[in-house]
């Protein structure tokens, strides 16, 4: 049992460290947030959206801006560790390396979830509909959880290439597509006020994606980082 406690405390320490770094530097969340807002503005003009947006469009816009913005955070969370060879220090720690992975996933999730929470009232304001719904927050948790589980794994992978972090979007977006589709469909159902039975299968699907990609991280994170 205490082995499991050690594992959890390793996860917690990585998570706490990341939040510490973020709190001191404030270079992750604000950048993601501004970027997400810029995406919203760009789409607004590129697609000539009207303020009384349909539920489907608002849901899609929310998830596209979140997906784009979180790539910045995902890249940063791994490239940060490459500075001063901090990653080597992490890897030298006598803990299971998947603990580092889950710590990173949780911190990435925390940051992107914060961005999502700020975006909800902004969207409500811009597009004249209440997006602060408990179920939508649940979709944010499930969708961003799956997205950051996969994203953290692929960020660790892409950082090892010659092109460094440039590769992450190319690897992440196509693989994350099922997550995005499910998240958008569930959000659309919620915003359109449909009964929960209409989009329940999407929530289950997202939950399955969480488990699947977390399992992939558990299995492969160590393989990716070995030298």
């Amino acid at each position: 049992m205490s082995a499991f406690r050690d594992y959890l405390s390793a996860v917690w320490n990585v998570l706490r460290k990341d939040f510490h770094v973020e709190w001191r530097g404030r270079q992750g969340v604000p950048v993601m947030l501004v970027f997400a807002l810029l995406v919203v503005f760009l789409f607004n003009f590129a697609l000539q959206l009207s303020p009384d947006l349909q539920a489907g469009l608002a849901a899609g816009l929310l998830w596209v801006s979140l997906a784009f913005a979180s790539t910045l955070g995902l890249n940063r969370s791994i490239s940060l560790e490459q500075e001063n060879k901090a990653m080597d220090g992490l890897l030298l720690a006598p803990v299971d390396r998947s603990a580092i992975y889950f710590g990173k996933v949780l911190s990435n999730f925390g940051f992107t979830f914060l961005v999502g929470l700020v975006l909800l009232p902004v969207f409500s304001l811009f597009y004249q509909q209440n997006m602060f719904k408990p179920l939508l927050v649940l979709v944010l948790v499930l969708g961003l959880g799956a997205y950051t589980s996969l994203g953290t794994l692929l960020a660790a992978l892409s950082i090892q290439t010659r092109t460094r972090d440039v590769l992450l979007p190319v690897l992440l977006y196509p693989l994350a597509l099922p997550i995005l589709i499910a998240a958008v469909e569930a959000s659309r159902g919620i915003l359109a006020g449909q009964p929960i039975t209409d989009y329940q299968s999407w929530l289950t699907f997202l939950l399955a994606c969480n488990i699947l990609f977390a399992a992939a991280g558990l299995m492969f994170f160590e393989t990716i980082l070995e030298e």
């Binding site: 794994l153 690897l171 196509p174 099922p178 299968s201 393989t223």
Partner: protein
């Protein structure tokens, strides 16, 4: 090793005979579909190519697992070969589907989930080559390529699932019957041609992968790695 194995030559000849034979079967043996007319005959090679593509991506994941377990280069060659050949089959499936869709759906392309996910699958495996080319050592190419091939293959069943979960206009030919058994909406002659093309395309896949595998091995020998 440079000598071509007899069994490969046999497989070559078998494919050279059987692919035209399947074509003859499709063109002259099967009845013309009542509603769609002759264009329905695209279906046989379309589904077979899609099947061969999917199968090769699954084989790539299995070969990736083989590499991660044994760390022998030959598994990486196999993984690379199956993905390269699978990409071509996927492209054939998409293009032949377009030829069918033009008269039937009156458009070359619809943003149907099944079509979109197949196209995304192609992009996923195109990114595999970008990933490989931006890695410097042979070992990291094999290791990270294997991880990527396995994680990507997780999206192949998602693609297949999507036809059930999404509302789609893509025909479901092999439908699950109400009693649990599967029912084919085809006449016996159609079934025969269908399974023949599936079989022939599987053989063709094996043949091409085998050739590509030998090429990968020759490349390694040429680079001066002992085999």
């Amino acid at each position: 090793m440079t000598k071509k194995p007899k069994r490969l030559t046999f497989l070559d000849i078998l494919c050279l005979i059987l692919v035209p034979a399947a074509l003859v079967l499709i063109l002259f043996f099967t009845p013309t579909e009542r509603v769609m007319g002759p264009v329905q005959k695209v279906f046989y090679f379309h589904v077979s190519a899609a099947w061969a593509g999917m199968l090769s991506f699954l084989l790539a994941a299995a070969a990736g697992a083989g590499y991660l377990i044994t760390r022998e280069q030959k598994w990486d060659w196999l993984s690379l070969s199956t993905i390269e050949v699978g990409l071509v089959f996927g492209l054939i499936a998409i293009l032949s589907g377009m030829i069918w869709a033009q008269p039937i759906w009156n458009t070359w392309w619809v943003w149907d989930p099944r079509l979109t996910t197949t196209a995304i699958m192609e992009l996923i495996y195109l990114a595999y080559f970008i990933l490989r080319s931006s890695l410097d050592t042979i070992e990291s190419r094999a290791r990270l390529g294997a991880v990527y091939a396995i994680v990507s293959a997780a999206t192949v069943p998602l693609t297949f699932f999507s036809i059930r979960l999404f509302r789609t206009i893509h025909p479901v030919v092999i439908a699950m019957g109400g009693s649990g058994g599967s029912a084919f909406n085809m006449t016996p002659r159609m079934l025969l041609a269908f399974f023949s093309s599936l079989f022939v395309f599987t053989l063709l896949l094996l043949d091409l992968v085998w050739h590509r595998y030998r090429l990968a091995r020759l490349e390694a020998v040429n680079r001066g790695e002992g085999v």
